[in-house]
Symmetry: C2
Subunit: 249 residues, 2 copies
């Protein structure tokens, strides 16, 4: 309700703990089939929580009392692949052919890692997670084509097996890492120069671990330069009624 009333316009990390938070991508119906197919073909980077009916702003299965148009703190409106506006409410922009895609984010498995005693430096430092564009092509669908984006977290070597086990339990939230320890094999040349988020220190006894990242579908949709796309602003997520514990099943 605070978000809906415009009283909370800040990032949502740490809000409503144990509740699943989601990325939002809204596209017009004419692009929805290809975007849905892209998500189906790339489930590790595009784990779908829900796809609404055309014109409906109610996520009936993940948050039936919510309104997609008002219940995210900040939205970004892109026209033909360019950022056109950042707003707190998209009621005025709403169209009958809009379809909302709610896509899983890594907050869920990060909570599980921290509960298991595996520290995450970007959270301790109150920074954004480190993200890189890779040279690994996604499976394209129609106009939606592009490379995988990964997030990276430095993990102590002796924590790597448990990290893989714990994140594997969340296949609908990016799941197991895509790679452990070899950034150059993903085409990442400089770990200290991420394309998105903040760079992070990697200590002597730590290994960089890479996960498929929900920025992938958003970036691919931008590159497709569709006439309009609306997303959440980075870090300003949609909070669902689902519990982390439900989604791990």
């Amino acid at each position: 309700m605070a978000i809906r009333k415009g009283e909370w316009a800040k990032p949502t990390a740490g809000l409503a703990p144990t509740h699943v938070q989601a990325n939002l991508v809204i596209v017009p119906k004419k692009h929805a089939y290809d975007f849905l197919l892209f998500c189906m073909r790339n489930p590790k980077s595009c784990p779908l929580i829900e796809v609404t009916d055309a014109g409906s702003y109610t996520p009936v299965s993940s948050a039936p009392d919510a309104d997609i148009r008002t219940d995210i703190p900040r939205y970004r409106i892109f026209r033909h692949g360019k950022l056109a506006d950042e707003v707190m409410d998209i009621t005025e922009e709403w169209r009958e052919d809009f379809i909302s895609f709610l896509i899983g984010c890594s907050f869920t498995f990060e909570n599980a890692l921290r509960a298991a005693g595996i520290p995450l430096r970007h959270i301790e430092n109150k920074q954004n997670v480190t993200m890189y564009e890779t040279n690994v092509p996604c499976h394209g669908a129609g106009d939606f084509q592009g490379n995988l984006v990964v997030s990276m977290r430095p993990i102590r070597a002796d924590h790597v097996p448990a990290t893989v086990q714990i994140t594997s339990a969340f296949p609908t939230m990016h799941g197991a890492p895509v790679q452990v320890g070899y950034p150059e094999k993903l085409g990442i040349k400089n770990l200290q120069a991420p394309e998105y988020g903040d760079p992070v220190e990697i200590k002597e006894d730590e290994i960089p671990v890479f996960w498929a990242c929900g920025v992938t579908p958003q970036l691919v949709a931008l590159q497709a330069k569709i006439e309009i796309m609306i997303t959440h602003a980075p870090g300003h997520m949609f909070i669902t009624d689902l519990l982390d514990s439900e989604i791990g099943r």
Copy 2:
């Protein structure tokens, strides 16, 4: 090649063991978005292995050398929800707007159960698995609406935990059971009168275990009475290049 040449027109159970077999549903592009959305909303009954590009008869990710039009032993052609023909080749029927959905089947987890020493009576008896229509509604999408169809296998009570564990390892092949032991809660009145497949004996020390069944999307598409839909004939599956061991990940 034997199937392609028309030299194998029989069911595929037991062929190419360790290779994943798939259900086929072909629909015209105008129905593909709603059908894809139906599958996404009901992943336990509709685990998608691959969705081809419109007009393409090549399953590029699961069997790149195959031809969807010739590489299944028998096809069924439905017009407006009615069976119109059963053929061994659909090359003549092919249209530029056809999209093929390859949907996981239970052969994969059945192999894993038997490898773990859990017998399956319908296989021992060389019969079709027992299937029921339930009163559990699926999450609909557009014209595609209907109830969940389940398969049932009698499992010895002391094997039930391992059965749940083993099938849980195949989330993209129907995964864990939807229910254990209470047919009446699914709206099933008489276990000896299944809607599909063959009835099966349930012994004193056995419990009926129910899984979401790949017949669900096919039935829902039939009920939508779309102008044309092509499927495999029951038991005559599409054999992919994927290995059971790959799909368990």
